[in-house]
Amino acid sequence: MAEAALGGVLRRAAPWRALRRSPLFVAGAVLLGVFLLMALAPGLLTHRSPIAVEAAQVFRPPGPAHPFGTDRFGRDVFTRVVYGARVSLGIAGVSVAAALAVGGSLGLLAGYTGSWVDQVTGRLMDLVFAFPPILLALALAAVAGAGSATPTVAIAVVYAPLFFRVVRGSVLAEREQAYVEAARALGASPVSIMTRHIVRNILSPVIVQVAVTLSYAILIESALSYLGVGVQPPTPSWGTTLNEGKEFLELAPWVSIFPGLAIMLCVLSFNFLSDGLRDVLDPRSGLVLR
């Protein structure tokens, strides 16, 4: 029994080395690292302010002084992109974390406990899930008012059911495993079984789902900004900068191109990470790495 339990843990230790060898994962991690640097220490990359208006520098094309050019207020686009990382990644990170926390814990509870708890939470999640995401986001955005909190709450609510389903499904599968029976036989309480054993073993699909959802979050944030209910100026999120640049796309395309590239590369990095993780952690992917 104990060996089975041990084996269950040991089997999962090997992948971390495999991850380091996966080119996808490495590429994704490096890219993400760059963006995290932008988000956490923007001052290291640029000394300018992202919101100060410089009337004399309006619409300068990319050049030595301004590598990404300037926008209609003379603000340095590179600086706006760097500071935008904090806002966009922050919103994506917080909203997905919230979605995971709420949806995931409800899914854990529902999957392990079963019976009426499963029924009730399942119904609730179905309700939210049945609501077309953008509509929910729009309505929530309008209710919460404009600002950074709005897309965060909207995205969290919209994606909680997804995590609920993923976690619940995985828990249902794990529940029947031998090591769980063993732990129960050994007298472990349901809570400790849930937290100490099951969580560890459902990490892989959840992590993959997190990576995928992060990329959706970034895109939804920019869509909400396009529709006017997202982050408000002058706060530089990638979505708002992209949207602002639309008004003079032909005159100063650089204002839109670089935030657009940032969104693409960021989403790309999340997807590479999740692909890499899936290849290594998910045995059904068809690749030899196990």
Binding site: L24, R123, D126, L127, F129, A130, F131, P132, P133, I134, L135, A137, L138, A139, L140, A142, V143, G145, S215, Y216, L219, I220, S222, A223, Y226, L227, G239, L242, K246, L249, E250, S256, G260, I263, M264, L265, C266, V267, L268, N271, F272, D275, R284, S285, G286, L287
Partner: protein, 305 residues
């Protein structure tokens, strides 16, 4: 399902009333001189002065009779507004999915046939890139490039499919393409991974060992099984497609349900918002149900007990 629908009705009713501002202020505008009496009488007219439960009861009673009410701003019946706008969105969705399937499945199959090759790499990166471009951005770029270099852009005035099929398709081509790329990328990835899984199965290896050609194996055995998760993905995609529809309708100025909803939301036109979301949610649920049924039909291993 009816319970869920009722839940949605409650949710949307409350949500929409939580949004600050009412139709009264929108109607009057900024510059009007209004006395408190005018405001009060207008609020009474729209029933906004009554307790929430009463307003909800009135509305839900009408819905049960099949009457979704009328727009507060234009007095057009909500059902009529939906009848003219839903077909537009539906057509957009169908065309987008058609594009997604037509591009995604072959690409996914080809990529799975040669895993880890250069083609596979291109497909994986390309599909991820296609997923990462925001829909409104794509739409704007398409319009800009087409109008600038080809001196053409999709007609701005809507023609229904029934009246002028060719003109209609010309109108819908770019929007469908814009919407279909992200879905197509998803389908390609899904097809690729489930094809790889199918190809890894014992029976396929047996067939190959017996000398059956790769293509025949792919076509007869693996493909059918591989398509099953694709069906689920399409079902799931509907929800995210809806988000794209709202944005694409705005960029290409299509008179669909997404645009109807957006306008109504900004004008605080509660009957239209509530009615549209209710109908869209119901359709959404139906599509998901349909996908589940299709899934069960295709995969003999799944039976709902």
């Amino acid at each position: 399902m009816l319970v869920t629908l009722l839940g949605i009705a409650v949710l949307v009713f409350l949500l929409v009333r939580l949004i600050p501002g009412t139709v009264v202020e929108e109607l009057l505008g900024q510059g009007a001189l209004v006395t408190p009496e005018t405001l009060r009488s207008l609020r009474e007219f729209f029933g906004l002065d009554q307790p929430l439960a009463v307003q909800f009861a009135h509305w839900i009673a009408r819905v049960a009779r099949g009457d979704l009410g009328e727009s507060w701003r234009s007095t057009r019946p909500v059902l009529a507004l939906l009848a003219s706008s839903l077909p537009v969105s539906a057509e957009l969705a169908v065309l987008a999915i058609a594009v997604a399937l037509a591009v995604g499945i072959p690409v996914g199959v080809l990529s799975a046939a040669r895993p880890r090759s250069a083609l596979d790499g291109v497909v994986r990166v390309g599909s991820t890139l296609a997923l990462s471009v925001p829909a409104f951005w794509q739409g704007t770029i398409f319009i800009l490039l087409f109008s600038l270099y080809l001196h053409w852009m999709p007609p701005l005035q809507w023609v229904p499919l029934g009246r002028h099929p060719l003109a209609n398709l010309a109108l819908m081509a770019l929007p469908a393409l814009t919407l279909g790329t992200a879905s197509g990328a998803m389908v390609a990835r899904m097809t690729r991974s489930s094809m790889l899984e199918a190809l890894g199965q014992d029976y396929v290896r047996t067939a190959r060992a017996k000398g059956v050609g790769a293509l025949r194996v792919l076509g007869r055995h693996a493909l059918r099984n591989a398509l099953i998760p694709v069906v689920t993905v399409v079902g799931v995609q509907m929800g995210y497609l809806l988000g794209g529809i709202v944005v694409v309708e705005d960029v290409f100025s299509l008179p669909g349900a997404g645009r109807l909803l957006l306008d109504a939301l900004f004008q605080r036109d509660y009957p239209v918002v509530q009615g549209t979301i209710l109908v869209l949610a119901a359709l959404f649920m139906l599509v998901n149900l349909g996908a589940d049924v299709l899934y069960a039909v295709l995969d003999p291993r799944i039976r709902y007990g």
